[in-house]
């Protein structure tokens, strides 16, 4: 698809002398060794995305197994033990191994490109975070395959998951899975926050940051303050189970509700950590397909920030049925309803943008349409369950299963698929098939609604959650069968997406740099961007640099190519501040991750693993940090003191 030069688009493409310098920077690592040692944020981000998608498919298969078991009453397909492991693994995977990591991974890939810089901050730490994440996920599925998977639910309530009733090592695998994914996720937050504050292209003031990046930044802050809660909780759980502490043992002054407070203090922000990046994706796509800048940028930013703050004040709405004092609960109803307002602001602003634009219907916009429908429905049922008295009927029933899937699939998965179809050309250099994309959308949209809408009714008709079967006399069979059929259709939609990806990788039309004629910086680079995102760092004067005439007003010269350097800019105004050399490819993040994995898994079996296991970790981290003479020499050659 050729892209005619639009009036006002940057004409820096036209200079052949400059184009000659578009060759990839040296020190790009190749082959298997390159794969294991790369510090390029795009390669690491892409493997994060692909791995997370793989786990998504695994968890989806688990969901289909559940639907097959529940399709008819008193079904003997799957017994209670296996079923409990299946729904626990499904939920744990979707929440910890798919949804949060994939959104962060989108950030790892796209944020540096959108900010106009060469690499993410602390790329070796991102590499380490990936391996840790992968090994944690593999540990969980190994346990599941060996029939010792966690079986106390993705939320692992005590005392069911505690030492007395949580037999064997099952819940320990769950708790350490948390440790793996939380350490990984927290390292990514530090990296992305630093990137957004310090590595923006010169001239990219705080008001020119794309909304996608704002969403990522806000999410990273939420992550930073929420994840420690689940780390503390899961550590306390392992300690109760392994060394006899009594955090959750009421007989010795502990409390089962302490677990719920700690878990949900994390758990509620977590769903917003999944939802807010999806909002960022929608904000990236809507203006491009409406052919006008997003309406209400300041309101959109404030809404993202308000959502993040409010999300920390809702957690008790998961505990309305407990014996907490009624007086406080209504405050959480009010807060849970209030958080709908910033989301509504975003919806109104997108609607206005589309209404006053010249919309062009392509697959990404179809998925945004799906997002509007499904997310709004989920948000409205969310308002229902946020009301304390009504929640007492709806809590822990299939109504909530419906609600959570409407908001998560509507609010995160549909934007994610919109984003896949939108950024696929940038990542691979080829367009996805538009026809297949439409089919994918309709199969997913129809399949999803047929699967999950009946669950609202099932909940009201008395069907609780987490049941491996139900009595034939309850009259729930027809709706359950319907839901199963819908789930299968949804599965076909996702399969079709995979087919589209595979075909497009080989036969897709060549995309060029900017096939959608979009406005943000990632579309300035080649498709796919070269290592180091070309050697040029742009100087920005606009929020929509590729649309505004003179939006890219110059470039940064004088950065070294070998070792590659990037530019650090000041906080709010993005003035050039100093240069930093990018690190060289290294195997030590992988080796450190292996050592850390041994420590984490070992400590499931004995507390001494923490002591002995930390020695190889310390050695690996030290070697990782320790500079080589060659590297120090090269840096000193470029050195200039502040």
């Amino acid at each position: 698809m050729s892209t005619p030069a639009l009036p006002g688009s940057s004409d820096v493409f036209a200079d052949p002398a400059r184009d000659a310098r578009d060759a990839p920077l040296p020190e790009e690592s190749v082959g298997l060794w390159g794969f294991l040692t790369t510090i390029d944020h795009k390669r690491i981000g892409l493997r994060f995305i692909v791995t997370a998608f793989g786990f998504f498919v695994l968890a989806g298969i688990l969901a289909l197994l559940m639907r097959l078991q529940l399709a008819v009453p008193e079904n003997g397909l799957i017994g209670p033990d296996r079923y409990n492991q299946i729904f626990t693994t499904h939920g744990t995977t979707m929440m910890f191994i798919f949804a949060v990591p994939i959104m962060a991974a989108l950030g790892v890939y796209l944020v540096p490109l959108m900010l106009g810089t060469r690499n993410i901050a602390f790329p070796r730490m991102i590499a380490y975070a990936y391996w840790l994440y992968l090994f944690g996920g593999l540990m969980l599925y190994t346990a599941f395959v060996l029939d010792v998977g966690p079986d106390a639910g993705w939320f692992s309530y005590v005392p069911l998951a505690g030492p007395q009733y949580g037999v064997g090592k099952r819940s320990d695998f769950w708790a350490q899975l948390i440790t793996f994914t939380e350490v990984s996720g927290l390292l990514v937050t530090v990296s992305i926050i630093t990137t957004v504050f310090k590595l923006r292209a010169p001239g990219m003031t705080i008001e020119r940051i794309p909304l996608f990046v704002w969403a990522q930044l806000v999410t990273m802050f939420m992550t930073m303050f929420a994840m420690p809660a689940v780390m503390v909780a899961s550590t306390a759980l392992i300690l109760d189970r392994l060394v006899g502490t009594h955090f959750f043992n009421y007989a010795e002054g502990g409390d089962a509700l302490l677990w719920q407070h700690l878990f949900w203090f994390f758990g509620h922000p977590e769903v917003y950590m999944i939802f807010v990046p999806g909002l960022g994706v929608v904000s990236a796509i809507v203006p491009v397909f409406a052919r006008r800048p997003q309406f209400g940028y300041p309101a959109m930013v404030v809404s993202l920030i308000a959502t993040a703050f409010l999300s920390f004040g809702l957690w008790v709405h998961h505990m309305f049925a407990t014996a907490l004092p009624d007086v406080g609960k209504v405050l959480f109803t009010a807060a849970s309803m209030a958080i709908a307002i910033p989301t509504a602001v975003q919806l109104f602003c997108w609607t206005v943008t589309l209404w006053t634009g010249k919309t062009v219907l392509r697959t990404p916009l179809w998925f945004v349409l799906g997002f509007f429908f499904i997310l709004v429905l989920g948000g409205l049922t969310g308002i229902m369950v946020s009301s304390v008295p009504l929640d007492l009927q709806l809590h822990d029933t299939y109504f909530v299963v419906a609600h959570l899937h409407y908001v998560l699939i509507g609010g995160a998965v549909f934007p994610l698929f919109a984003g896949f179809h939108y950024w696929f050309p940038k990542v691979t250099g080829r367009m996805m098939d538009e026809q297949l994309g439409r089919w994918t959308f309709w199969l997913m949209f129809i399949g999803f609604n047929v699967a999950f809408f009946p669950m609202h009714i099932l909940g009201l008709e008395g069907m609780p959650r987490r049941v491996y079967t139900y009595s034939a006399a309850m009259g729930w069979g027809a709706l359950n069968m319907t839901a199963t059929v819908g789930a299968i259709v949804l599965g076909f939609g996702i399969l079709l997406f995979a087919v589209n990806v595979a075909r497009s990788l080989r036969y897709g039309a060549l995309a060029g740099a900017n096939p959608w004629q979009a406005d943000t910086l990632e579309w300035w680079y080649s498709s796919p961007p070269a290592f180091g995102n070309t050697h040029r760092i742009p100087v920005i004067t606009s929020r929509t640099p590729l649309w505004t005439p003179g939006g890219i007003a110059g470039e940064v010269r004088g950065l070294s190519r070998s070792p590659p350097e990037t530019l650090v800019t000041s906080g709010l105004e993005a003035h050039p501040d100093h240069r930093v050399a990018m690190p060289t490819p290294t195997i030590w993040p992988l080796i450190s991750a292996i050592a850390t994995t041994v420590l984490f898994i070992g400590s499931i079996f004995t507390p001494w693993a923490v002591v002995w296991g930390s020695i190889p970790v310390a050695i690996a981290l030290t070697i990782w940090f320790w500079p080589t003479r060659a590297e120090a020499r090269r840096h000193r050659a470029l050195e200039k003191s502040p």
């Binding site: 530090v190 940064v556 100093h578 470029l638 003191s641 502040p642």
Partner: protein, 206 residues
């Protein structure tokens, strides 16, 4: 931006004129360190909240035990506070890019580190409760151990950095690393102060 603009007609930037490392909020490591401190600080805050939550679940405090002995905790608090002096001097030496100063003061810091780790060992013996006695004991050991982990990692970080300053290979940005390491040391000492009050004084006041 004006001093690095090549020619007034274009907005190009000449990065060669810029330094290749920086101190304080300009440096990426500062942000990395502060980010990690924010995360760990949240964990400490939650552990303290957990301690007080357990308080609401029992009648007497501490339940069936004496409060931790004051002596070792107080001695360690004094050592930690005193360690801020060589820490600050190391930071200043780093910012002056004074090689000898950095070497001396990092070593002095390490001496303090050995002292407070040893005394931390004594603290554990004087808590008057074990982690598996009751939820109070669990909360006490958890809070103390969370901090001990930071003492150990901070000591290790500082030792590695000190070693590098003796063996090389060195470059300018290592001085920035010294400055950021001092920041982390401040965090570890600063985080201890509320924990000290909670562990040693709260049971005497409640």
């Amino acid at each position: 931006m004006s001093e690095v603009v090549l020619d007034p007609g274009s907005r190009d930037v000449d990065a060669r004129a810029l330094p290749s490392y920086a101190f304080g909020t300009s440096s990426l490591m500062w942000w990395g360190t502060v980010g990690v401190a924010a995360i760990e600080g949240t964990a400490f805050a939650l552990a303290i909240i957990m301690y007080f939550y357990v308080r609401t679940r029992v009648q007497t405090w501490p339940p069936s035990a004496d409060p931790p002995e004051l002596i070792w905790g107080t001695v360690n608090t004094l050592i930690l506070l005193a360690s801020l002096i060589p820490n600050q001097l190391a930071k200043k030496a780093g910012e002056r890019q004074d090689l000898r100063g950095v070497r001396i003061w990092l070593c002095v810091c390490l001496l303090f580190a050995i002292a407070f780790i040893v005394v931390r060992g004594f603290e554990y013996t004087a808590l008057n409760v074990k982690w598996d006695t009751n939820a109070y004991g669990s909360a006490v050991w958890f809070l103390l151990s969370l901090h001990t982990t930071h003492l150990v990692t901070d000591t290790f970080d500082s030792a590695v950095l000190a070693a590098l300053f003796f063996t090389g290979p060195l470059e300018g940005k290592r001085y920035a690393d010294v400055s950021e390491n001092a920041l982390y040391w401040y965090f570890v000492v600063g985080a201890w102060l509320p924990i000290y009050v909670v562990l040693y004084w709260a049971p005497r006041w409640m």
